[in-house]
């Protein structure tokens, strides 16, 4: 049952990701990326990462992709004029190198074998629950958490400064 769900969700994720790239309309690309991200949230659920799956949907689909669509429609970039490549063979070369890269990664995964020191038996109870994650976030990972808030603050200021019209 879990295997069927895994293959179904990963097929959706990969198909949508391919359509993001090989598809001329930019708005459709953004919509297919949303599909891919939703499928990825399904994979997170299969990996017992419930909190991460929900946060992933809220942050990516709810915030980042809405921002992307907003910019696409604000700048009226609906159509990407195809067939105007200035570098010869850019498409073929890019796809060929990508396939080579994938072959390398697949080779590494297949040679990797079993995970050294992987614990046996079932998962601990409450694995991936919000309570456990929150406790870790405010004890072990307190410093990165605070640094993250500063990063977000700086990013917001930077976006405002960049977006301001030069006057």
């Amino acid at each position: 049952m879990a295997a069927v769900a895994f293959y179904l969700v990963s097929a959706v994720a990969i198909a949508c990701a391919a359509l993001v790239i090989f598809q001329p309309n930019v708005v459709y690309s953004a919509l297919f990326l949303i599909g891919s991200l939703l499928a990825l949230a399904g994979l997170f659920l299969l990996l017992n990462a419930q909190f991460i799956a929900i946060v992933h949907i809220i942050v990516y689909v709810g915030a980042i992709m809405v921002l992307f669509l907003f910019v696409i429609m604000l700048l009226d970039l609906g159509r990407d004029p195809a067939g105007t490549e200035q570098l010869p063979y850019q498409r073929g070369l890019g796809i060929g190198l990508g396939v080579l890269f994938l072959a390398e990664l697949a080779l590494m995964v297949s040679f990797g074998g079993d995970l050294a020191g992987a614990p046996e038996g079932p998962l601990p109870a409450a694995f991936g629950y919000t309570e456990v994650l929150g406790r870790m976030l405010f004890t072990t990972y307190l410093f990165p958490f605070e640094a993250t808030s500063i990063l977000l603050f700086v990013a917001a200021i930077g976006a405002v400064v960049l977006g301001k019209r030069r006057g």
Binding site: A30, L43, A49, I52, G98, L133, L151, L162
Partner: protein, 94 residues
């Protein structure tokens, strides 16, 4: 047949390669940005998969931080794209 770590790593490898191809093939800055998001998400998947099979939650917390960095990157990057568009009336990277 049971789904193991290698399956998840392979899906992640495919998604990452698709992101790489997108950055190399497309010239629209917004699509290049989406490809970068795709690559970040592929790496998130490896983090969660490794964490799941090592029975540790540190991977999930790393994904949390990667998401924050991705959000910040998207905000600043899109602001840069808007100012480039104002300057050149196009978002082609050529």
């Amino acid at each position: 047949m049971t789904v193991g770590l290698a399956h998840y790593l392979f899906v992640s490898a495919v998604l990452f390669s698709l992101g790489v191809v997108g950055v190399m093939v497309r010239r629209n800055a917004i699509i290049i940005f989406m490809s970068i998001e795709l690559m970040l998400n592929a790496v998130n998947l490896t983090f969660v998969a490794f964490g799941r099979f090592l029975h540790t939650l540190d991977g999930q917390l790393f994904v949390f931080f990667v998401m924050v960095v991705a959000a910040a990157e998207a905000v600043v990057g899109l602001a840069i794209i808007i100012s480039v568009f104002r300057l050149r009336e196009s978002v082609d990277v050529d």
